[in-house]
C-alpha cells in the first residue's frame, strides 16, 4: 500500500504538469497490480512474477508521455544508463564486500532472492525513484538549488526506509541503511540532474537492491 500510495502521489504531481491528464485510472491500475502481486506472494512466492506488471504499466505510461514530468521518457539515455548501472554495481559491491568482510555475512542466491528482486523491480524501486527523485527532487530543484533539493528528497527517502517495518533492526543494518540510502539518493538525484532522465537512477537502485537482497537473504 505504501508503494501504491507513493506512486499515486507521483502520478498526481505528474498529471498537473502539461500535458495534463487524469491520474485516477493509472493509479487504480498500479495499486491493483501491486496488491494482487503482494497477495499472490503470500500464497506462493512464485506469484512475485506479477510484480513485473508494474514496470510494464509504467512503460506504457512512459511511452504515452504522461510520466515525462517525472523524468521518464521514451528515449533511453545510453550513457546515463551505463553510468547508473556502474554506480549501482559499485555501491552494491561495496555493500556486499563490507557485509562479508566486516560483519561476516554470507552471500546467497537462492529463490527468495529472485522474489525479492521482483518486488524491488515492481514496487520498491519504482515507487521510491518516481516519488523521491521524480516528484520531490525534480520539483524542488526547479525552485531551489540542487543541494537543497537533494537534501530534502534524500532525507525523506531515508525516513521512509528507516520506518519500514520490513527493515531488520540490527545496528549494522540501520547503519548500512543510513549510509547506502543516503549515497544512493545523492547519486540518483545527480544522475537525474545530469541526464535529465529517471532511468539511470532506476537502474542504479535496482542493481543496488539486487545486491542488498543477496545479503538480506542470509
Amino acid at each position: 500500500m505504501v508503494h501504491g500510495g507513493l506512486l499515486t502521489i507521483a502520478f498526481g504531481w505528474a498529471a498537473t504538469s502539461p500535458p495534463q491528464w487524469r491520474p485516477l485510472g493509472p493509479s487504480i491500475i498500479i495499486i491493483l497490480v501491486l496488491a494482487l502481486a503482494a497477495a499472490g506472494v503470500r500464497w506462493d512466492p512464485r506469484a512475485a512474477i506479477f510484480y513485473l506488471a508494474s514496470p510494464l504499466w509504467l512503460t506504457v505510461l512512459t511511452i504515452s508521455g504522461r510520466l515525462e514530468p517525472l523524468g521518464l521518457r521514451s528515449q533511453i539515455p545510453v550513457a546515463g544508463s551505463l553510468l547508473g548501472f556502474t554506480a549501482g554495481l559499485m555501491l552494491g559491491g561495496h555493500m556486499l564486500l563490507a557485509a562479508a568482510v566486516t560483519f561476516g555475512h554470507r552471500v546467497t542466491t537462492d529463490s527468495f532472492v529472485l522474489t525479492a528482486i521482483a518486488y524491488d523491480a515492481g514496487a520498491n524501486v519504482p515507487s521510491s525513484e518516481l516519488f523521491f527523485r521524480g516528484a520531490v527532487f525534480n520539483r524542488l530543484q526547479r525552485r531551489w538549488s540542487f543541494v537543497a533539493a537533494v537534501t530534502v528528497a534524500t532525507a525523506m527517502s531515508l525516513v521512509r526506509y528507516l520506518v519500514d517495518p520490513l527493515l531488520p533492526r540490527a545496528p549494522e543494518v540501520i547503519l548500512g541503511t543510513l549510509v547506502y540510502v543516503t549515497l544512493l539518493g545523492v547519486i540518483n538525484a545527480w544522475l537525474l540532474w545530469w541526464s535529465g532522465s529517471l532511468l539511470p537512477g532506476l537502474i542504479a537502485a535496482l542493481v543496488f537492491f539486487a545486491a542488498y537482497r543477496m545479503v538480506a537473504a542470509v
Partner: protein, 494 residues
C-alpha cells in the same frame, strides 16, 4: 590546458587510490597502519584538480574504502586509542576534501571573474561599432559563464540587442530594465533540466543603460548570481567609458573638421581680399586715368566748345563711376560692421526707375539691347530711390557685362500679391552650379568670370544687402550656356 591538467589529475587520483588500497588495506592487522594517512593523497589531488566536487567525492570514496577495515578494528578491540586515532583520521579526511575543494573552487571562480572583467574591458575599449563589440562580448561571456547570454543596450534612442532572449515588459530582461533590479527565474520550465535565468540591469549612476540576461541549464548558485550582478555593473561602467571615449573621439574629429573648414574659409577670404585689392586698384585707376588724362588735355590745350563739352561729359561719367565704387566700399564696410544701409523710403514708380537706370547705363556705343517689359498695372514700390537705382544699375551692368554682342537683356516687372517682382535676364554664358550659391558673398567672383570682365565682386552682395534692407528678397537662377536671371521682390505700395 585545464582539460589536460584534469586528465593528469584523474590519472594521479586513480594511481593514488590503487596505491592506498594496496598499502593501507591490511584488514587483519590489529593496530592502525601508518599508511592510512596516504588516503589523504587522493583527497588532496582530487580537491586540487576538480575543486569542491572532486574533494567531496574522493573523501567519500576514501572513507568507503577505509570503512570495512576500520569497522573490523573497532569490532575487535573496541574504542581504543588506536581505533579512535583511525576514526579521527577518517573524519579529518571527510572534512579536508570538501573544505580544500571549496577553497580551490572559490579561488578559480575569483580568477575567472577577474579574467572576465579584463576581457570585457578589452572588448569594449575597441573602436569598433557598439553592436560588433557587444556581439564579441556576448560570445566571450557565454563561454566564460557557460551560459546563453543576451545583451540589450540602449544607444541614444534605440536599443541594440545581441542574443536570443526576448525583450518585452513581461520577460525577465524587460522587468529588470523597468525596475532596475536583478530578476531571477529558477526555472523556465521548458526542458528536463531546470533552466535558470538571471536578468541583471546595466546601470550607470543610477540610470539603467541596458540589461544582461544569463540563462543556464542546471545550477546557478546565489554566489554566482551575485557575481553576475557585479559583472553587469562593471559592464555598465565599461559601456559608459566606451561611450565617453567614442564621444570624445567624435568631438575631436568634429573639432578638427571645423578648424580645417575655418582655415579653408580664412584662406579663401584672404585670397578674395587680395584679389579685391588688385581689382579695386584697377577699378579706381581706370576712371582716375581718364580724369587725369582729360583734365591735362583741357589744362594744356585749347579745344572747341563742343569738344570741351564732350570731354567734360566723359569726365562726369568717370567721376560718377568713381563715386559709385567708393559708395560700394563704404556700404560694404558698413555692412561688415553689422549696420543696415541708411534708407529714405518713398513711393517709387517702377517703370520710370527702370527707364532711368537703362538710360544712365546707355551709351550709343553699346551693342546689347535692353528690353523693358513693365505693364501699366505694375504699382509703385516703397523704396529708397537712390538705393533702387543702385540695385537696378548693378543688375543691369552685370547683365550687360556678361551678355554677348547684339543680344538682348530683358527686364520684366510684375505685381505679385503684396510685392513687385523685377527680374533681369541675360543670355550670357551663365554661372557654374558650384559657384551659384556664393555669388551673393562679398568679394566673390565666379572663377570663369575672372579676367573676362572687370568687376569688384561687391555688386551682388550690395544688391542683396539693399533688397533685404527693404524687407525684400532676391534670388538667382542660371544655366550654363543659356543665361542668368536675377529676380528681386520689393514691397509694393498698397
Amino acid at each position: 590546458m585545464i582539460a589536460r591538467l584534469q586528465i593528469a589529475g584523474l590519472l594521479a587520483l586513480a594511481g593514488c587510490v590503487i596505491a592506498v588500497a594496496v598499502l593501507a588495506g591490511d584488514a587483519t592487522a590489529q593496530a592502525a597502519s601508518p599508511w592510512r594517512h596516504a588516503y589523504a593523497l587522493p583527497v588532496i589531488v582530487g580537491a586540487l584538480t576538480f575543486g569542491m566536487i572532486g574533494g567531496t567525492v574522493t573523501a567519500l570514496a576514501s572513507l568507503m574504502t577505509q570503512a570495512p577495515i576500520l569497522f573490523i578494528h573497532v569490532e575487535s578491540v573496541g574504542l581504543s586509542a588506536g581505533t579512535l586515532d583511525e576514526l579521527v583520521s577518517a573524519a579529518i579526511l571527510l572534512v579536508l576534501g570538501p573544505l580544500l575543494g571549496s577553497r580551490v573552487t572559490e579561488a578559480r571562480r575569483q580568477s575567472e571573474r577577474y579574467a572576465t572583467i579584463l576581457a570585457l574591458q578589452e572588448t569594449l575599449a575597441d573602436e569598433r561599432p557598439l553592436r560588433d563589440a557587444l556581439e564579441t562580448l556576448r560570445c566571450r561571456l557565454g563561454s566564460r559563464l557557460r551560459a546563453d547570454v543576451t545583451l540589450a543596450v540602449r544607444d541614444d534612442d534605440q536599443w541594440i540587442m545581441v542574443g536570443t532572449h526576448a525583450f518585452s515588459g513581461e520577460t525577465p530582461p524587460g522587468r529588470a530594465a523597468a525596475t532596475a533590479e536583478a530578476v531571477f527565474v529558477p526555472d523556465t520550465g521548458r526542458e528536463a533540466r531546470p533552466r535558470r535565468v538571471l536578468a541583471a540591469p546595466l546601470s550607470v549612476r543610477g540610470e539603467t543603460v541596458g540589461v544582461m540576461t544569463v540563462e543556464r541549464a542546471g545550477e546557478f548558485p546565489a554566489g554566482e548570481r551575485r557575481a553576475v550582478v557585479v559583472l553587469a555593473f562593471h559592464i555598465g561602467a565599461a559601456l559608459e567609458n566606451a561611450r565617453l571615449a567614442a564621444r570624445q573621439r567624435r568631438f575631436a574629429d568634429e573639432l578638427a573638421e571645423k578648424v580645417h573648414a575655418a582655415t579653408d574659409r580664412l584662406a579663401a577670404l584672404d585670397r578674395a581680399k587680395s584679389a579685391f585689392v588688385a581689382m579695386a586698384s584697377h577699378e579706381l585707376r581706370t576712371p582716375l586715368t581718364a580724369l587725369v588724362g582729360y583734365s591735362e588735355l583741357l589744362a594744356t590745350r585749347a579745344f572747341s566748345t563742343d569738344e570741351v563739352r564732350r570731354q567734360a561729359e566723359i569726365m562726369r561719367r568717370q567721376t560718377r563711376r568713381l563715386a559709385a565704387i567708393i559708395d560700394d566700399f563704404l556700404d560694404l564696410s558698413r555692412l561688415e560692421r553689422g549696420e543696415a544701409p541708411p534708407l529714405r523710403l518713398a513711393d517709387v514708380a517702377v517703370g520710370p526707375a527702370l527707364t532711368a537706370a537703362v538710360e544712365l547705363l546707355g551709351g550709343p556705343q553699346r551693342t546689347t539691347r535692353v528690353v523693358i517689359d513693365c505693364g501699366p498695372d505694375v504699382s509703385a514700390v516703397r523704396a529708397d530711390p537712390q538705393a533702387l537705382e543702385r540695385i537696378l544699375m548693378n543688375l543691369l551692368s552685370n547683365a550687360l557685362k556678361y551678355s554677348p554682342a547684339h543680344s538682348a537683356v530683358t527686364v520684366h516687372a510684375r505685381r505679385a500679391a503684396a510685392v513687385v517682382e523685377i527680374s533681369v535676364e541675360d543670355s550670357g554664358r551663365g554661372i557654374a552650379p558650384d559657384a551659384l550659391p556664393r555669388v551673393f558673398e562679398p568679394y566673390f567672383r565666379a572663377p570663369d568670370a575672372l579676367g573676362r570682365a572687370p568687376g569688384s565682386g561687391l555688386g551682388l552682395a550690395m544688391v542683396k544687402a539693399l533688397v533685404e534692407a527693404h524687407n525684400g528678397r532676391v534670388h538667382i537662377d542660371s544655366t550654363l550656356g543659356i543665361g542668368t536671371r536675377v529676380t528681386l521682390q520689393l514691397p509694393a505700395v498698397p
